[in-house]
Symmetry: C2
Subunit: 112 residues, 2 copies
Amino acid sequence: MGVTRTRKTGFATEVARTARWGRALAHPARVAILTLLAERRTCVCGEIVDDLPLAQSTVSQHLRVLGEEGLIRGQVEGTRSCYCIDADRVRAMMTDLNRLGASLERKAARGC
Amino acid sequence: MGVTRTRKTGFATEVARTARWGRALAHPARVAILTLLAERRTCVCGEIVDDLPLAQSTVSQHLRVLGEEGLIRGQVEGTRSCYCIDADRVRAMMTDLNRLGASLERKAARGC
DNA sequence: TCTATTTATCGTATATAGCCGATAAACGAT
DNA sequence: ATCGTTTATCGGCTATATACGATAAATAGA
């Protein structure tokens, strides 16, 4: 023991940050939630639950993950929670992803 | 038994496809591999192993994941394996991710 | 042939993710 | 105060992801 088995460390911060965006998008439920939120501009938790083939508690967890990455914001309205997309964070994410994508496309295959 | 517990299904195909891209990028090692491959244009497996704080077998697994999504291609050269980025697939990925990003940014927060 | 090198895969262990039902917490309405 | 509604969190379980060492497979070179 004493040995770290999971290595989240040892990577450049930009690389790690990009991977976190990846994680946020790594489940179809989360992509679906973002898409739904975009379509409706804003949305109460229950509407999201109705739209997904998942239990309410599961949806709540996915909402939390998206919230932890800042991609969505929630605000309590009485007994309900209203969620919406945080455009600034989405832009930040796309900036990172596009930076990666651009560098990959620019210097693509050659002798392989 | 007989009950499906993991639900990969019940989501629109485009949503699922985007989530798969997310998964591919969801680990810093994989982002690091792509970045390294871009820097060097092409790269032998051993060089990647040397560049990452992970065991050879673990790196090999990450290479496989990236290969399964088509983001990289490998070709055997003697005892070595030479990997490179598949620019077409990267473009396809960025198209999907940007389509998502654009729709999220366009219809962003309003009353939340 | 024998050896060294390189890489993929196997076996196994652990950590994380994901799922659900149940419950708690907060609020509105009566 | 009580009840119903809504949502977050807890507990427990299963599945997947991640990690490593060991081994297999393939090849280059002596």
